[in-house]
Symmetry: C2
Subunit: 98 residues, 2 copies
């Protein structure tokens, strides 16, 4: 399925957003929806958990409007990975999109 290709793109989106500012699950679902990626909670949340296990992201909880949100932000490991990914992505784009 073509979805398999996009799942990688989705993770890159997440790392990128989490590098700019702390993000949380539902916000990401909407944001990714704007990019044409439909993610159910059963896909996104476990994905966030894994990214945290792998130390690309770290989380903290905060109560907003008296609801608990779990914010994720990028770690140094994640920043490092992201920059390596960008390099390869640029290479790929240069080769494929010309």
């Amino acid at each position: 399925m073509i979805r398999d290709f996009f799942l990688g793109f989705i993770k890159i989106h997440i790392l990128h957003h989490a590098a700019k500012e702390p993000v949380y699950g539902l916000w990401l679902i909407e944001e990714l929806d704007n990019h044409g990626y439909k993610l159910s909670p059963g896909t996104l949340y476990p994905m966030l958990h894994r990214l945290e296990e792998q130390h690309y992201l770290e989380s903290y909880s905060e109560t907003i409007d008296s609801k608990v949100r779990k914010y994720y932000k990028i770690t140094p490991t994640g920043t490092d990975a992201l920059s390596k990914i960008k390099v390869k992505m640029q290479e790929l784009v240069r080769e494929v999109l010309t």
Copy 2:
């Protein structure tokens, strides 16, 4: 592992090359190595088989220098997928690399 991200890129590379001209396993291993991706045969060949099962690629065998090679070329399904991937990739790049 960061490798997980690259595996998606690798598949895109493969589709792209198979869209330009027929390609075969060992050639791809070298070509990808030039891009900094080390693939063992145990990774690449099953990957090609899956891409064929999923009808992104199709193969035919040819004897070159009295050795049998299995050439893969892209299918209409693969062409379609690739163009969709390119669109999303461009979006991603515009967002992430600026």
